[in-house]
C-alpha cells in the first residue's frame, strides 16, 4: 500500500495526481470467509480493521448493500466525546478517545481529529448540580471535566444569548476539553483503506437476503451476489438491525427512528467548541468549511426513511435560535436524515447471540459516530475470541432480561422521546 505523506503528495503533483493507487479494491466475493461483517459503515470497517490488526484474522469480507460510508457514518454531526456518567459508558468511550487521538497516525489517513471541547449548557441551579455530579463521575473515571460558571461560558461563547430577558438563561455549563470533532468520511475511508491492504474484501452493492443457520450455528449468508459461507458473522447495520433480525426470527429491544441534521451556509470562524443547549435537544459546532453543523430531536415516530420532516427541523432550530440568536440570520445549506437504532435504555449492544457464530453490534442511538473505534475494537475482540471484552461486557443483549440496564439518561422505553 502506498503511504500517504507530504513526499507522496509532492511526487504525485508532478504527474497531475493521475497515478495514485486505488484506496481499496472492488473484489468479487469468494465462496467462503472466516468472518463476514455485514454493514460497511464506520463500525463494520473498524471491526474488520481490528480483526486483521489485533487478531490476525484477514480472511474477512465486509458486505455492504450500498456503498461504504453512505449510512450514518456519513450522516452524523461528527462529534466525539466521552462525557458519560455511568461506568460502562464512560470507560468504553474514554478507551475510544485514546484511539481517536492516535487514529490519523495509526491509519496513515488524516481524519482531522479536532479536540476543541464540548460545552453542555445548564439553565438552572438544579442542572448545574446535575452537571457537577456528572463531571465528578467523569473525573473519577479519569475523564477531563470542568464546571464552568456563567462568566466562563460567556468568555468562550459570547455569541450565545446572555441577555437578561430570556426564557432559558445560561447558568453555566459542563465542559469536556478533550472532546471534539473529526472528519467523518475520512474515518470510514481510512479504516477501509487499511483493512483492504491487510486482505479484507470490501464488497459493495451486495445486499443480504437471508442467513443459513444449521443446528443453531451460523454457516453462511445469502446475498444478492450469491451465497457466501462463513464461520462467523457480525452484524453492524445500525438503522437496519430490525430488518436483519426479522430474517433471523429475533426480536430486539430496539426501535428504528429518524434523526435529522443540517448545516448553514459557511461563515467566518466564530464558534470554537461544540455546544449543546441544556433546555431542549439542540447542539451546534462549526465545521472547518465554516458551516454551522446542527442537530437535535428525532422525528418522533418509527421510520426507515432517510429523509426528515419539516416540523421537527423547525422545532430544533427554534431551540437553536434561543441559544444562538445569530443563527436566525443564516441561510440553511443542507438538511438530511439518518435512521437510528434506538435501544430501550439508550445504550448500545455488542454481544454474542443465541446463534453460535453470530454476533450483534447495534443500538447506538445518537452516539454511534464517536464510538466507531471502540466499537470496532471491542466487536473484533468479541468475534475473534468468541467472548466479550470487559469494556463491552455491560453492553449485553440480555441486560433487559436481568435488569442491568445502562440508563444514562433514565428516560425509559419511550425511545422517540429520549
Amino acid at each position: 500500500m502506498q503511504k500517504y505523506s507530504v513526499f507522496s503528495l509532492i511526487k504525485n503533483a508532478f504527474s497531475d495526481h493521475q497515478n495514485w493507487e486505488v484506496a481499496w479494491k472492488d473484489p468479487t466475493p469468494k465462496k467462503e470467509y472466516d468472518v463476514i461483517i455485514i454493514g460497511g459503515g464506520g463500525h463494520g470497517l473498524a471491526t474488520a480493521y481490528y480483526l486483521a490488526k489485533e487478531h490476525n484474522i484477514t480472511n474477512v469480507a465486509i458486505i455492504e448493500k450500498g456503498w461504504i460510508g453512505g449510512g450514518n457514518v456519513g450522516r452524523n454531526t461528527t462529534i466525539i466525546r466521552s462525557n458519560y456518567m455511568h461506568d460502562d459508558n464512560a470507560l468504553f468511550s474514554e478507551f475510544g478517545m485514546d484511539l481517536w487521538r492516535k487514529m490519523s497516525q495509526d491509519l496513515n489517513y488524516n481524519v482531522m481529529f479536532s479536540p476543541r471541547g464540548i460545552i453542555n449548557l445548564a439553565h438552572s441551579d438544579a442542572q448545574m448540580n446535575a452537571y457537577s455530579r456528572r463531571g465528578n463521575s467523569m473525573r473519577l473515571n479519569g475523564i477531563d471535566a470542568v464546571l464552568l460558571s456563567r462568566e466562563e461560558v460567556q468568555k468562550r461563547i459570547p455569541m450565545a444569548d446572555f441577555s437578561d430577558n430570556v426564557r432559558f438563561p445560561i447558568f453555566g455549563g459542563l465542559m469536556q476539553p478533550s472532546a471534539g470533532t473529526a472528519r467523518h468520511d475520512a474515518v470510514a475511508w481510512g479504516y477501509a483503506r487499511q483493512a483492504d491492504s491487510m486482505g479484507v474484501d470490501i464488497i459493495q452493492n451486495c445486499e443480504v437476503t437471508g442467513f443459513d443457520v444449521t443446528n443453531g450455528k451460523i454457516v453462511g449468508v445469502r446475498t444478492s451476489r450469491g451465497d457466501i459461507k462463513a464461520k462467523k458473522v457480525g452484524l453492524c447495520v445500525a438503522g437496519s438491525t430490525n430488518i436483519l433480525a426479522e430474517m433471523l426470527n429475533m426480536t430486539l429491544p430496539i426501535e428504528t427512528h429518524l434523526l435529522q441534521a443540517c448545516v448553514s451556509e459557511p461563515v467566518k470562524p466564530l464558534l470554537d467548541h461544540v455546544v449543546t443547549f441544556g433546555a431542549g435537544h439542540f447542539y451546534c459546532s462549526q465545521s472547518d468549511k465554516g458551516e454551522m453543523v446542527m442537530g437535535g430531536d428525532l422525528d418522533g415516530y418509527n421510520s426507515y426513511s432517510q429523509r426528515g420532516n419539516l416540523p421537527t427541523l423547525q422545532h430544533v432550530l427554534t431551540e437553536g435560535i434561543a441559544m444562538f440568536p445569530f443563527l436566525s440570520k443564516l441561510k440553511m445549506l443542507r438538511t438530511w436524515g439518518g435512521i437510528m437504532d434506538m435501544s430501550m435504555d439508550g445504550s448500545p449492544i455488542i454481544d454474542k447471540t443465541h446463534i453460535d457464530g453470530l454476533y450483534l453490534n447495534c443500538g447506538w442511538c445518537y452516539g454511534g459516530f464517536k464510538a466507531t473505534p471502540a466499537s470496532g475494537w471491542t466487536f473484533a475482540h468479541t468475534i475473534a475470541q468468541d467472548r466479550v471484552h470487559e469494556l463491552n461486557a455491560g453492553y449485553s443483549l440480555n441486560r433487559f432480561n436481568t435488569g442491568d440496564l445502562i440508563d444514562e439518561k433514565g428516560l425509559g422505553t419511550k425511545t422517540w422521546i429520549s
Partner: protein, 89 residues
Amino acid sequence: MLYIFCPHCGSRSQNEFAYGGDATVKRPELNKEVSDQEWDNFVYLRKSPRGKHLELWHHISGCRQWIKVERDTSTHEIFKTYKADELTE
C-alpha cells in the same frame, strides 16, 4: 408534514399529535402469573418493522383521544386510522 385523520375530529396536521408507539404490544393479563420473559417482552422487545406499522397517537392538541394509525414506516403513507378501542383488521 404528516396529515393524520383523527376518527373524532377529521384530518389534522401532525403538530396536533403526540406519538405513542407500537399499538400491537399487549400487556400480560392481570391476575395471571407472569414470567420474567413475558414481562420483558412486553416492556422492551419491539418488532419495529419496515413497512406497515400499527401505532398509537394521542390527539393531544385536539380532542385528547388516543387513536390507532396504520402507517408505512418507509414511505410514511397512512393507510387507515381507528378509534383506540376499535378492532383493527
